[in-house]
Amino acid sequence: MADSRTIKVDYLARVEGEGALDIVIDGDQVSDVKLRIFEPPRFFEAFLRGRDFREVPDITARICGICPVAYQMSAVHAMESVCGVTVGGPLRDLRRLLYCGEWIESHALHVYMLHAPDFLGRHNVVELAQDHPDTVQRGLRLKKTGNAIVDLLGGREIHPINVRVGGFYHIPPDSEFEAIAERLRIAREDALYTIEWVSGFDFPEFEQDYELVCLSHPDEYPFNEGKIVSSKGINVTAQQYHDVFEEHHVGHSTALHSRVLERGNYKVGPLARYSLNFDKLTPAAQQAARDAGLDETCSNPFKSIIVRAVETLYAVDEALRILDNFQRPDAPYLEVEPKAGTGLAGTEAPRGLLHHTYTINDEGIIEHAQIIPPTSQNQATIESDLREFIQPRIDLPDDKLQWQCEQAVRNYDPCISCSTHFLKLRITRR
């Protein structure tokens, strides 16, 4: 056996949540990679049982401080599907606008504060800001515009409170929508700058044959609605989710893993959406992507930072489109009466498909809840990426290998808190 080496790193920074990464190298072979999530289970699905179906957007919004809108949207769509209500017209547009806000703030946060430092050899955004203050200012301004949309329609920036089954509790005055449109015009310049900036980073050669999974809608880049499709032939409705995907427990993680039945792991998130919905992007976003050197599909997870930047431009343009065509809804919400049954819905959280299943009784009391977040679906793919990535780089010095492994995990913008707070990394060589 070759020399035995152990690398132990106590912190993998810049991820959302608590977990650890263990890598075992036997001689010249990677023998084991485990993304260990030890964040304690949070029992949200159990809290929801026995609660009124109208409470679900407020309770599930508490799962994540970065993407609460995704939780609210999957929840309300699932409840509306049980109760036989479809929210269309201006209310549907406003939900899309709210989602644009979340994508902008979440993507800007990840691109500037969490991921870009990896590419520029900086330990964190503070170091990045010391060398690139104007760039970081732009990133923060972009993020704040996203936050402002969530504040406007959600009632506050974090854990919004204005979303209800059937629509919103309150629609803000027209003048406030106009003010947001002004900010979005500046954000558009920032988003274009971001794409150009990140496209100049160095990317490792690392193309993978993923099964990419996301929503697909005939007319639009997916947020709230669409069929669940994959790059390997899945084409099902949200109602059929459990016929195609299954969750299973692994010993080293408190978050359940997911797989395509009889096939294996898959990948959700920006790369999946982009590669399966390129034709639904705006011409401006398509052009910006091409100018950044992307093809119509992307299977290099390190380039997810460019895809997030392209999606940010898309979200800014889509928000502006909605605001330009803004029509005030007749009422802030549709009345929804409870009906016994099971409702399923998936929406596109910034990190990927977020699927909810609820069973309610005829009084609207929740009897069963199942929430499948994007990071838990991606866990097995993060592990397989690391195995493939490390093998040809096994001779790198441990500190460099560690840096690149952390970067490979951050490609997924993993939100460990959602999927069940720091990530510890340990490489063992024996």
Binding site: A13, G65, L109
Partner: protein, 110 residues
């Protein structure tokens, strides 16, 4: 928070502190020219983006006020749902006087 510093020539921040001291102990930090803590290694996620990191980001971006003071009050108990301890309540009253002194001193300089 950084935005609220715009145009201010003095900012005083007050926060609970866990430094191993006695509950209710008050410490004053002048962070105008140097970090609150030299240790930035805890930068692990946006879930724990702490005061030191936020202030250092502000420093890098040139967004700190002319003078920046932080008062830390050693907390007795961080358990969820527990009420304020008598030591911390008494420290809060003492701090009220200290902050007034700082403001008076600042006015006398300008």
């Amino acid at each position: 928070m950084l935005e609220s510093f715009a145009d201010a020539d003095l900012v005083i921040l007050v926060d609970a502190m866990q430094s191993g001291g006695k509950p209710g102990e008050i410490r004053r930090f002048d962070v105008t020219d140097e970090p609150l803590s030299a240790d930035l290694s805890s930068f692990s996620s946006t879930h724990v983006f702490n005061l030191t990191e936020a202030l250092e980001l502000g420093r890098a971006l040139g967004q700190l006020p002319g003078r920046l003071l932080v008062f830390g009050v050693e907390a007795a108990n961080f358990d969820l749902g527990t009420p304020i301890s008598p030591e911390v309540e008494s420290a809060a009253r003492e701090l009220d006087g200290l902050i007034r002194q700082e403001l008076d001193h600042h006015k006398s300089l300008s």
